[in-house]
């Protein structure tokens, strides 16, 4: 996938128009940074691109039914079973992503090795967030959709996450990332969704 193009996207939730006439183009090796006030539609936009929500108006090109092979969507929910151990959670993901997971390697990279047998419930929010971004490394997809993934990470891990993102776009990936707070990320395109709110 060489680019992702959005043409005149509108999002209506219930009777409320969240954003209107939003257009952008992100090419391979670029980062699109989405900002905006609470309720401005950052999550809705990412979920729309991931295919969970249909655009009320406009279209996303390429028009297709996006799967794991096309997009990695990491939302605000961690996708972790809190009553299961870290290792068991990774094993469940391996079925969903149909990939064998090198658990030890991933946990070592995320500095979570000592929590391998602990229930997710006992991890801090920052550790859960680190574990949730492990999904990005299970298999490759041409687009990363990251919804407020810096939240709960300490400054050291925010920098590490940014490095992962830079490495990914250097390999030709496309990243769309939303954030509510200031993050030190050198993006190519910035969109403030508040400007598109009605």
């Amino acid at each position: 996938m060489d680019y992702l193009l959005a043409e005149n996207l509108s999002c209506i939730r219930g009777s409320n128009t969240v954003f209107k006439n939003l257009s952008f183009k992100v090419s391979r090796g670029q980062i699109l940074h989405i900002t905006g006030a609470n309720g401005s539609g950052k999550t809705s936009l990412l979920r729309m691109i991931a295919g969970f929500i249909y655009p009320s108006e406009g279209k996303i090109i390429p028009e297709k039914n996006y799967t794991h092979k096309d997009v990695h969507f990491v939302g605000q929910k961690y996708a972790l079973k809190k009553n299961l151990s870290v290792e068991k959670n990774l094993s469940l993901w391996s079925y969903l992503y149909q990939k064998k997971i090198n658990t030890d390697q991933i946990l070592s990279d995320l500095d979570l090795t000592q929590y391998k047998d602990n229930d997710v419930e006992v991890l801090s929010d920052g550790q859960k967030r680190r574990l949730s971004i492990a999904r990005l490394f299970i298999h490759s997809a041409p687009i990363w959709l990251l919804d407020e993934v810096h939240v709960h990470l300490d400054s050291e891990w925010q920098v590490k996450l940014n490095h992962y993102i830079y490495n990914y776009i250097n390999e030709g990936g496309i990243v769309l990332i939303s954030s509510n707070t200031k993050i030190e990320l050198n993006s190519n395109i910035d969109i403030n969704l508040t400007n598109y709110n009605v």
Partner: protein, 208 residues
Amino acid sequence: MFKNLLLRDLRLAYYSSSNFIYIGSFFILVTILIPFVINTETEGLKSVFQGLIWVGLALALLLALDRIFSSDFDDGNLDIILRMKVSYEKIYLSKLLSVWITYCLPIVIIVPLISTAFNLTINETIFVTINLFCGSFGMAATAIGINALLMGLKRMIYLKSIIVIPLYIPFMIFGVEQGSWPVLSALSMIAVVVASFATSYGLRLYGE
């Protein structure tokens, strides 16, 4: 894809408390407890047992109500499942099989083993087990369909139960009749088909 989804659900059931041993123990306790509180003769015990089987199955499935789809919806795993290259119908079918294997199969296996304790003859045991086998698919499908439509309602197991229990009544009425497996099979087929539409609709609505 379908196989992975099914294996994942079975693995999750195994990891969680809803594995075979728990469901089986729950069912045995329910069936054993009732004769203690109901003073009944041998023949009466027999008919109470035949009714209890269905109540036990319904209770086991009600326990599952807050787990089918709802837990994946709450923790975000449903996002991953829906991005797999698999149709809603296959997601439904994998859920149906995993729910049946996790919650119904242990009961179908246990019933013949404990039926002698309730003075059922071999013929009666065979009829009861066949009835249970045929009806349990429909009851599992009903639980899945309702849960798919209401998965966004957190901690609303009582509401879901109020909706599901009346739908179980036909299965229970025919379930206690010997030789009613063709009717139960027909009911199950209707429930499986209707629930597949309900599940697809619920999953489609999910993003909204």
